[in-house]
Structures are given as structure tokens and as C-alpha cells.
């Protein structure tokens, strides 16, 4: 009986702990983005971080996008060909990439490539007391360290998603038209007839903006709040990737349901 009570107690403690962490994360975000920044100082920092977070992620995004487009085209062609509808390959690839695969796969890759490195970087700054020395020098580490990284991720992920979608469609074109030999005109015209800019492409970009917000938020918070030991940093990095991936997949379902519901 006592063990039952203890279990319920530990469940409650876990709940309180979770809410505390979320509140803490909210405070970090609040301190980082809801303060008037000194544009003159923070803009170069932002550019530097967009380079680190966004531009250096381009190779993996381009390669992954091309291969996903190519494999979708190959798989889709083999199925569609059975129904003599191989000309619908363009819409198949464009819709699946613009609506789902683009935002989700880019988000997952981004969490692994950029999110983990943000966490590790901020975590190591904390472990080596760089953050507290900044506070001693009256420099707000939330403004100086966290804010540029957060904004860089927030801006970069939608751009990376667009690049990913573009290269997927190039990949599908390479396989479908250049290799298998479908008609290029049917490929593009059927694609243009079925893809709607507002419903498909803009909604995909909205998804990627939401994912960018949450992945980067999780990444900077995990780094800022990590236990400042090497083990703590390793745990924080793992948590960044796991939480970001779960949040992306979960939110993707919620957003899709909202968008399908005519939102």
C-alpha cells in the first residue's frame, strides 16, 4: 500500500519537475527574444550563427533531398506504372515532398546536425564557466549567446526546407525523366495542375517555421540548462535530438490535422 502511495508520489514529482523545466525553458526563451536587442552588436553575431547553423547544414540537406526525391520517383514509378498512370509521378513526388517529407525530414536532419551542436556548444560554455564570466562582465549571456543561435535556427530551417524540396524535385526529375524516360511536359504540367501554392507549399513552409522554433528552442535550452559536466553535456545533447525528433513528429500530425481541417 505504501509502495502504491510512493509511486503516485514519484509520478507527481515527475510532473512537477516537467512543468518546472518547461517554465524554465520559457524563461530562457523570454530572456533571449523578448528584450530589445542592440542591433548594431547582435546582427554580426546572427550572421555568424546563420553561417554555422544554416549554411554548413546545406550539404547534408541537398544530398538527403536529392536522394529522397530519387527514391520516391523510383518507388512511385513502379507502383504507378501498374496502373498506367506513370505520368502522375510529378504530382506524387511534389505533393509528398512539399507537404510532409520536406518539413519533417529537414527538421529531423536539422535537429541532428545543428541542434545537437548548439546544445554541445552552449553546454561546454557553461561547463567552462564562460557563461558566468559573461555575467560578471555585465554581459547578458541570454542576449549574447542564446538569442543569436535561436534566431539563426528559426530563420535557417524554413530556408533549408525550401532547398530540400527543390532538390527532391530535381532528383525525381533526374530519375523519372532523364533515366526512366517519362515525358518532361507531363511531369511538370501534371505537377502544376495538382500542386497549389497556398495549400501545399505555403503550408509546408508554415510547418517548417513551427519546427524551426521548437527545435532551436529545445537545443538552446538543453545547452543552457545542462549539468555542467562532460556527462551532463552528453545527456543534454541526446535529449536535444530525442525531444526535437518527437516534437517534430508529434507537431507534424497536429499541424496536418489542422491544415486538413480547412484551417
Amino acid at each position: 500500500m505504501l509502495s502504491m502511495v510512493q509511486r503516485i508520489q514519484s509520478l507527481g514529482a515527475a510532473g512537477i519537475h516537467f512543468v518546472e523545466r518547461v517554465g524554465e525553458a520559457g524563461l530562457v526563451l523570454l530572456g533571449a527574444i523578448f528584450k530589445k536587442p542592440n542591433l548594431h552588436k547582435s546582427f554580426p553575431l546572427l550572421i555568424q550563427q546563420i553561417y554555422m547553423v544554416g549554411f554548413l547544414s546545406l550539404p547534408i540537406i541537398i544530398v538527403a533531398g536529392s536522394f529522397i526525391g530519387m527514391v520516391l520517383a523510383l518507388q512511385g514509378y513502379n507502383i504507378l506504372e501498374k496502373f498506367a498512370a506513370a505520368d502522375e509521378l510529378g504530382p506524387l513526388v511534389a505533393l509528398s515532398v512539399a507537404r510532409e517529407l520536406g518539413p519533417v525530414v529537414t527538421g529531423l536532419l536539422f535537429a541532428g546536425r545543428a541542434g545537437s551542436s548548439l546544445t554541445a556548444e552552449i553546454g561546454l560554455m557553461k561547463a567552462t564557466d564562460q557563461l558566468s564570466s559573461m555575467e560578471l562582465m555585465a554581459v547578458d549571456p541570454l542576449q549574447r549567446v542564446v538569442a543569436p543561435r535561436f534566431w539563426a535556427g528559426f530563420y535557417s530551417l524554413p530556408l533549408l526546407t525550401i532547398v530540400f524540396s527543390m532538390f527532391s524535385i530535381f532528383g525525381a526529375y533526374a530519375v523519372g525523366v532523364d533515366w526512366i524516360g517519362l515525358d518532361a511536359g507531363s511531369f511538370w504540367s501534371n505537377m502544376q495542375a495538382s500542386v497549389d501554392f497556398r495549400i501545399d507549399i505555403v503550408n509546408g513552409i508554415i510547418k517548417s517555421i513551427v519546427f524551426g522554433f521548437f527545435t532551436t528552442w529545445i537545443a538552446v535550452y538543453q545547452g543552457y540548462a545542462c549539468v555542467p559536466t562532460s556527462e551532463g553535456i552528453s545527456h543534454a545533447t541526446t535529449r536535444t535530438v530525442v525531444f526535437s525528433s518527437l516534437v517534430i513528429l508529434g507537431l507534424d500530425f497536429v499541424l496536418t490535422a489542422m491544415m486538413m481541417g480547412g484551417w
Partner: protein
């Protein structure tokens, strides 16, 4: 923090490239994938054909002779006088179409998209740019066929 001696202007240059690539991607998605506007076509000359019904024929659908793509449909609009659909075809320069040819709207496979097939005639004179193809076959509308079939069965 970032004490790496990375040249600042190089960083700014690559970030600029990154932004440009993103914008180029958005333009590509908007115009080429979702077709906000139509792209201009390659070299060729224009023929027109009038149909009672174009069915599911779309702009940029291929024009074929004997299964070979010889051109594109560039425009489809309603002729306000005759209430017929007027399709504008762009035929590539290297192909000629005899002036007793028949233009038909056909379907690729059971579920496939429509295309415009030209059955060449025997005339030695070819259509010139801007001519209207005289003989046309409209698209087969499945519901109309079934309707006629059922109507004939009753009799």
C-alpha cells in the same frame, strides 16, 4: 566566444549565398512546381484546333504523332462565339503536319492524363503557322458513353 579567425566577409558571403539559394528555391516551388504562371516554350510554330469538349486536357500536355511528342498544348480557352474550346498547339520546328490531319484528345492508359494525338493525313501540303486544324475528335466523356449505352439498352 567564437574566436575562430574566420574572415568575416567570407562568412557574410556564404550566408548571402544561403539566403539566395532559399529565395531561388521558393521561386522554383512557386513557378515551376505549383505553376503560378506559365513558362514560355521552346522554338516552334503555332496551330489551333477547336473541340466540342476538351475533357481533361491541360495546358502543357504533349502533342503526339504516332506516339512521338511533336509539340505542346500552350493554351486552352473558350471561343465565345461558337462555344467551342479552342486549343493552341505549339509544334516544334522540325515537324510538319499535313493539312488533312485529324486532332483527337486521347488518354494515356486507364487513369492517365489526356494528351492531344494528331493522326496525319495523306496531303502533301502542310499546315502553316496560325492555321486551324479542321478535323477534330473531342474527348470521350465516360459518363456520356455510359449514358448512351444505358439509353440504347432500354430500347
Amino acid at each position: 566566444m567564437n574566436t575562430k579567425g574566420k574572415n568575416k566577409s567570407i562568412v557574410e558571403f556564404w550566408v548571402g549565398i544561403f539566403l539566395l539559394l532559399g529565395i531561388a528555391g521558393l521561386v522554383f516551388l512557386a513557378f515551376q512546381v505549383s505553376g503560378l504562371t506559365q513558362k514560355s516554350m521552346s522554338h516552334g510554330y503555332v496551330l489551333k484546333a477547336n473541340f466540342d469538349n476538351v475533357g481533361g486536357l491541360k495546358v502543357r500536355a504533349p502533342v503526339q504523332i504516332a506516339g512521338v511528342v511533336v509539340g505542346r498544348v500552350t493554351n486552352i480557352e473558350l471561343n465565345a462565339q461558337t462555344y467551342q474550346a479552342e486549343a493552341t498547339l505549339l509544334i516544334y520546328d522540325q515537324y510538319t503536319v499535313p493539312n488533312d490531319s485529324t486532332a483527337s484528345i486521347l488518354t494515356q492508359g486507364l487513369l492517365g492524363s489526356n494528351y492531344l494525338g494528331i493522326t496525319p493525313g495523306y496531303s502533301t501540303v502542310s499546315y502553316q503557322a496560325g492555321n486551324v486544324i479542321q478535323r477534330t475528335n473531342s474527348a470521350l466523356i465516360l459518363e456520356q458513353l455510359i449514358g448512351q449505352f444505358l439509353f440504347n439498352m432500354k430500347k
